[in-house]
Symmetry: D3
Subunit: 187 residues, 6 copies
């Protein structure tokens, strides 16, 4: 690994991976040689805020990046589950990932944890965040609005194949206490 | 096991098991030969929404069904804890239960998970759901209203023996943040 | 619960449940009114020493006891997983079981843990232990010897239905380090 | 251990340990010979309601008590993580602590769990609870108000050294769903 | 996904990934369009039989396959930790991986678990297994013999960079009971 | 904390804490101002190689050090459970302990993990290791030989009070497969 080689880390839950995410990856690959994409909360699925399994998300991300011409030789897709003990989350990312030089994140909590572990942390210039957000995608799926416009074509196809919209709507009907709290907040 | 033999699965938290639940079991046993009753969130107890241990719930269910003449030879009581990873919950039920042919549930989340695992899922004709609900039972216990009317006599006796009403009221005085959120919602 | 009512606890792994076990249950039910049968190491399956899931074991035990005329109204079948922290195992049994008065066990470790928790612990008069042992059953299955002679007929039938012998033999071919250690010891 | 020797248990999360806590310890040491101070939710850190690691909290408590002349020979500091299964939390405290005779707590949930396990539970005369509360300390830290007034000098120094105020403020900017719920409640 | 598209699954621990493994991947990619390579026991590292973290192993595999001209667009690298409950391991692989049609494995235990879950399982024609084995690589590392001959050049380079040989030798000096058992067996 | 202040870390399982351990603590306190004593494998107890709970071990260590005049103001006793993922064990120690400058250990595995995390690691001049070893203490307890000679008087008293010898002997009678392996090795 020469001095000029640089590998970055980019963390998200990608529920689902949308056009904003794929633009971020494209943009970061102008700054680094390779990008480690960490699929956070990898153990979660079948929840209103986390409908897709890590396997489904990995398939979506690979296909999306392929669609915009980002070669898989430029990125690693690494699932990392939540850690009960927040102070162990960064060590878990480090142990699960190839070596990396810099962390890209706008999330204050993620930034804080990596900074306390003495990593270089840089901000991400978000691509039209007011339009492209996973929360907005899920909202449109539940409201039967145009969610496809926010997603790479290949992600829409995978969601169709696995019945993702039906899954999300059935989850919404569920009445566990916490889910009700979160649903009410959205209104 | 002849072709005609049929075993059903019925999932609940049973906090506590009430007259509505016992009527459902009686009704389902007209459709199947044996019923596997899964005691969900089995690891939870001593919470406002989950006051009773799985051992206490098993004792309640057995006694209730005995009270209405449902033989223990017709049902299995299987405790299953929550799974951190929702996509592993159905496999956990399968591994913990005798073989079953059909799942009875009205809960959209439970139905969804079993349907994605290719199980036959059927709805339950609830017995007076507006009256018989575990949430209502717990609410009456805390408000010192007539909770006994909703329960089989043997469940009331077990709750008296273990000091269940006192337990629930003391839990209600606790001021952890999430408990406060849930309590406020109830009002 | 009158003063004369007495409930006992009997712990085993039941891999599988054999004629010795069923005789023990029959014998203990002469001393107590009801018996809680704890299915230990419930999370284990598909291992050389633990081939069967807790669901399969529950089905075997129920059918065996039925076969010798022990009514399911006299026993509870309670699965309990191992505890990483041995000092939490007895509390976990207590939380998972209906109330019990006395513990029956010949296993020094189990006896010790219950005695430290101030339970009454009594010994079990084993039924022909030199013949009826689960280790012997599994050995015969692997060596293609007469394992059926040691089992209630209904257990044999369940093992046939789930392909238990084939499962055990394939597990034996596995070469993980610990399994090799244990296999060598058997010789 | 003579008959007169008495060891008490005092449970808190100590996020952070403040002057009210140190007064409680001083007061309880007039009633018992030694005090076991349990640092609850020990696995939590880097959360709005739980900013500090158990190591940081242990350092704070030791220094605080030293500051007011309470010798470390009079107390034990024992970290105990939350238990997924509430009915296992008291056994976990027992297994992690030196033997103790009496539990001091005003928290109804804690009191209830210890009472069900047949411990003697006594109340704590709180020291100016309307002023000294960890929630108030964290609120002042986030609002840039005088949080130092509520803390022993040595705790302030540790918080300065580890950048505790900055940590808390960055955590507050985080927008995970549950954190938003809790933050809104505070207003 | 057209009818002709086919995705295979190949499971290993890859401690480390050697020339035999890379030949297997090359061979399997003649039978399927894409290969999911599951990095088993992903949580393990710094053990005599499992010296490398999943992040290190992922970096090794990617570089090795690149070295022999296998494009990353043809494979997915999916870390999967061990499951305490063996009956949950296949569901965990399924949830962590993109959809797959066929499983390639020679390990009887892995084959058994996938067959019980109704997957198509096929054997792998191993490439000179008597020479290329991860156990042999680790043995040579500890004995200061020519381990490099068994590894792709890029794996040797990564092992040099992370001090892999020194790590393994220091682990060997450790005297925990189980490690001693395994070490003795090797002799 | 002035530049001259120095805090060391010393890791052991202390099953039980013996005269060799107490001499090491005394010796290390000549090199550092304060010592963090990590009680490793804190979750283990009631095992042949790990008979005592972390609470019991903490009580033993405190009393032993008191006995030889080492003030509790010079040391911290920090229980740390094993980590399923070895690469997370050092981060867990860091999160559970007050800040420390140097690690003292002779155990190659512990040394390796701390060195990979960029800690200063120094060796411990052991005090008559051929005589003072916890394995030897447990061996003597089981063989009814003079185990008291190896322990501080206060540790013997605690072991007597909790029935430690009886516990160990009953554990030895247990016939779980792994325990048999370990027992045979001892001979």
């Amino acid at each position: 690994m020469t001095a000029r080689f640089k590998r970055g880390l980019y963390v998200g839950r990608f529920q689902p991976f949308h056009r904003g995410h794929s633009e971020v990856v494209k943009g970061l690959l102008k700054k680094v040689d390779e990008l480690v994409v960490v699929i956070g909360s990898s153990q979660k699925s079948h929840e209103l805020e986390n409908p897709f399994t890590s396997g489904e998300r990995i398939e979506m991300i690979r296909a999306s990046l392929d669609e915009i011409g980002v070669s898989p030789s430029k990125h690693y897709l690494i699932p990392v589950p939540d850690s009960q003990d927040h102070s162990l989350w960064v060590p878990q990312v480090v142990s699960s990932s190839p070596f990396f030089d810099v962390v890209y994140s706008n999330e204050p909590f993620t930034r804080r944890l990596f900074k306390e572990a003495h990593f270089t942390v840089e901000s991400i210039p978000f691509f039209k965040r007011e339009i492209y957000s996973a929360t907005e995608v899920r909202k449109r799926m539940m409201a039967d609005e145009d969610w496809r416009a926010l997603l790479p074509k290949s992600v829409s196809e995978i969601i169709d194949r696995i019945g993702g919209v039906e899954r999300l709507r059935e989850l919404e009907m569920t009445d566990s206490p916490l889910k009700r709290v979160l649903r009410n907040k959205r209104k």
